[in-house]
Symmetry: C2
């Protein structure tokens, strides 16, 4: 499983962020080809210094599947959409393989 993890910092306007995220971004992401699992978490408790408002996890079976999704028209739309509700460096994204131990 390959995961795309996105950590969103606290938005200026949480209500506007939530509205855009839930009504526009989620439906877009759910159209990504091959997406195996998509979770969205709020109410993040931080045990260290860094605080985040929302954590999204998008899983694909393989890295090739993820790359195909990112390269698709929906992938490009979803990436462009992020700048509309989380401008600048307010989101932090990571890709890694998920290995159970």
């Amino acid at each position: 499983m390959v995961r795309f993890l996105v950590l969103y910092e606290m938005p200026e306007d949480p209500a506007a962020f939530d509205k855009h995220y839930d009504e526009i971004h989620v439906p877009l992401v759910k159209k990504l080809p091959g997406l195996a699992r998509y979770t969205v978490s709020r109410n993040i408790v931080s045990l260290g210094g860094r605080k985040y408002y929302l954590v999204a996890e998008l899983d694909w079976e393989t890295r090739q599947d993820m790359q195909a999704a990112f390269g698709s028209q929906t992938g490009q739309k979803a990436a462009a959409d992020v700048s509309r509700f989380a401008p600048g460096d307010k989101s932090h994204s990571f890709i890694f393989e998920v290995a159970e131990v």
Copy 2:
């Protein structure tokens, strides 16, 4: 599902970090009561500015299960162990419920 997400920054000595993590920390964590799933990821690709060396995810069915595990003797040992391979503010931990959308 409730997740404990830990992001470890790049260690001073990656080989020593890996040895301690794999040989001491993983066996400790795996003994945590009620742990439903434990994944460890390396080779983290960062698409933004923040870089991490290792991502660990520990899942429990409920928040109560997680709290019981953290309060157990193994939980206290595992927490204390972190300071031995990731001192100071080199790790960032978050707790949140995982909701599929």
